[in-house]
């Protein structure tokens, strides 16, 4: 398997940014928050060219942070991200345009005071993909590609609907001709009927342009629909990774099973309408994660080993991996 996008043992810490006053107060013994948050811990992923990897998890799991690390928006505290063996960041700065991002809130990610055509053209002009004079034609082509009328390049973001703005955001990312696309909750703030349109657009474009994608979402049904493989995150770590059908059908990690089980699904068959179960407890604070395996306080399979030792990642197959001491029990219990 040739690796195109490699995330190598990446971690990201967020330390408390103490002001001078707070530092002095801490020295004098006042209670100031000095703990750091390990938003992402020791994540390694090997993604092939053209593959779409879904990234799922609940709030605080680190999927958005991981997305920004891969996109070169945030530098990792340790580890590296590379595309086709070329590093994405050097000295804390992004040195490539091969990876672009589509952000969650289509309204917030467009400059409200700039015409949308100018926003889309800005990056390509700055990086030589088009000239100032050729920009209008260049942007018009991309507008058509994403299903927008090229006449609208001179409009402002507030004149568009949510779905249209997201198309503009996609056009902006693709106008940079990237090889890798990071989508951070691209349909979360859209209506259901518009979601379908944007998802279809996404499928059409990624297949047509042979893009490698990381699709971050909290909506499991959407991820299931668009991804080839899926990675499940919990408190900054990847607990399970594998082809969508396998992970959704026979989860190897108890959290994966519980997470998928807790989403109400329309079953619509003879005797059942909607199916879901619930998990106990809540996600612990990332400031003070549990000892050993982070999931052990909520896990039905937890043992002493789980309380003391962080599980290593086991590769079940070429494409599948899981981090759990008792994954065999989980798999056989299906």
């Amino acid at each position: 398997m040739s690796v195109f996008l490699k995330i190598d043992d990446v971690s990201r810490l967020f330390g408390p940014k103490l002001s001078t006053g707070e530092k002095i107060a801490a020295k004098l013994g006042a209670k100031v928050e000095t703990r750091s948050v390990r938003a992402v811990s020791d994540v390694s992923l090997s993604i092939r060219k053209g593959e779409t990897l879904g990234l799922v998890g609940e709030s605080g799991c680190g999927k958005s942070t991981l997305g920004r690390l891969i996109a070169g928006i945030l530098p990792p505290t340790s580890g590296s991200v590379s595309i086709d063996a070329a590093a994405v960041m050097e000295n804390g700065r992004k040195v490539t345009t091969r990876v672009q991002t589509v952000f969650q809130d289509p309204f917030a990610s467009l400059d409200p005071r700039m015409k949308v055509g100018e926003t889309v053209a800005e990056g390509p002009i700055a990086h030589g993909l088009t000239t100032k004079s050729g920009a209008k034609t260049y942007v018009a082509e991309w507008f058509e590609r994403v299903g927008l009328d090229p006449v609208w390049v001179d409009r402002y973001p507030h004149q568009f609907s949510g779905g249209q703005r997201q198309r503009i955001a996609i056009a902006r990312a693709l106008a940079m001709k990237p090889d890798v696309l990071i989508c951070d909750e691209p349909v979360a703030s859209l209506d259901v009927s518009i979601q379908a349109q944007i998802i279809n657009l996404f499928l059409e474009l990624t297949q047509g342009l042979d893009l490698t994608c990381v699709f971050i979402s909290h909506d499991l049904s959407v991820v299931q629909h668009v991804s080839d493989r899926v990675a499940v995150m919990y408190l900054g770590r990847i607990v399970e990774l594998g082809p969508v059908a396998e992970v959704f059908g026979q989860p190897a990690h108890p959290y994966t099973a519980a997470l998928f089980g807790s989403v109400p699904k329309l079953v619509l068959d003879a005797d059942e309408l909607v199916r879901f179960d619930s998990i106990e407890g809540e996600v612990p604070s990332p400031l003070s994660p549990p000892s050993g395996c982070y999931y052990h306080p909520r896990c039905p399979l937890a043992s002493d080993k789980c309380r003391t030792a962080q599980p290593a990642t086991t590769e079940i197959s070429d494409l599948r991996a899981v981090a759990c001491h008792h994954f065999e029990t989980q798999l056989s219990g299906q």
Partner: protein
């Protein structure tokens, strides 16, 4: 998708709804025009000492002077036609107010945005300096600087700028910090685009609304500060009377019934400042309710 006017068109449509603000704007524009064409419309050039005749001094409104025309608002102790002196005085007030306002705007905004963008020690240094300055009353600061630099237009503007840039710096800093965290800035930086481009093309335009509001208030403040300094005799030289000086000149005569020498310049000053403030208020209110939508 809605097809509507440009942002400016919409702004004006909303502005028009407040009748008082429109009246205030008309007054401001009128006064600017009067000031611009002061030389043309004034019956007399109050700076030309040769024109003045002591025979005409302290005459009441309606008096026909030695020049052969009616002094509509009377004359001052030096024999100047008060109407002309007010026009010229308005010109000075507006010139200095605008100049001080714009220079403070540039300096303050640059410092504020730099502090917000660079962060760290530079941010602390700049903003603590600004805070320090804000804790001094503007008048005191202006007085001290004028005392040090001496009299003259440039020195006056310099003093006013030094007293006022801090307001702009603080406003720009707050706005820039708020914008810095927003998605579209992150998206622009993620392309990647250089910091300079992002600040210039994205941050600055989006920080302008609060800065415009502060600018209108500060221009009014500059005008009143300058008048105060002139009133105290620390502003422009006696030969170039500004409104403040006119008021000061007429002060001793207030009790003896020759009210017009102080009152008319005072009224002109008040109208100008209040009109600018009303316009500023309307602009500020219009930028705010956007959030309510």
């Amino acid at each position: 998708m809605s097809v509507d006017r440009s942002p400016l068109g919409k702004f004006w449509a909303e502005y028009r709804e407040n009748k008082m603000a429109v009246v205030a704007l008309i007054i401001v524009v009128l006064m600017i025009l009067l000031a611009l064409f002061a030389a043309v419309i004034s019956p007399q050039n109050p700076y030309d000492l040769a024109n003045l005749s002591l025979m005409d001094s302290r005459r009441p409104p309606g008096f026909v002077g030695s020049g052969g025309y009616t002094h509509l608002l009377g004359t001052d102790p030096q024999g100047r036609d008060l109407l002309s002196a007010i026009f010229y005085g308005l010109r000075i007030s507006i010139q200095i107010g605008l100049a001080a306002g714009l220079v403070s705007l540039s300096i303050g905004t640059t410092l504020g945005i730099l502090a917000a963008y660079l962060g760290g020690r530079i941010e602390t240094l700049i903003m603590r300096l600004v805070d320090l300055q804000l804790s001094f009353p503007a008048i005191l600061l202006a007085l001290v600087i004028v005392a040090m630099l001496g009299q003259g237009k440039a020195q006056l503007i310099g003093a006013l700028v030094a007293a006022q840039y801090a307001y702009f710096a603080r406003t720009a800093y707050g706005a820039a910090k708020a914008e810095r965290g927003k998605d579209y800035i992150e998206a622009a930086l993620a392309t990647p685009l250089s910091a300079r481009l992002v600040v210039w093309r994205h941050m600055l335009p989006n920080c302008t609304p609060p800065l415009i509001v502060v600018a209108t208030v500060q221009i009014a403040n500059s005008i009143s500060l300058e008048a105060t300094l002139s009133f105290l005799g620390l502003g422009l030289p006696v030969t170039e009377p500004s409104l403040g000086m006119l008021i000061s000149n007429g002060f001793p005569y207030m009790m003896s019934g020759r009210y017009w020498i102080s009152v008319y310049p005072g009224v002109a000053l008040i109208i100008l400042i209040v009109a600018i403030n009303i316009v500023g208020d309307q602009v500020r209110d219009q930028f705010n309710p956007r959030l309510r939508k």
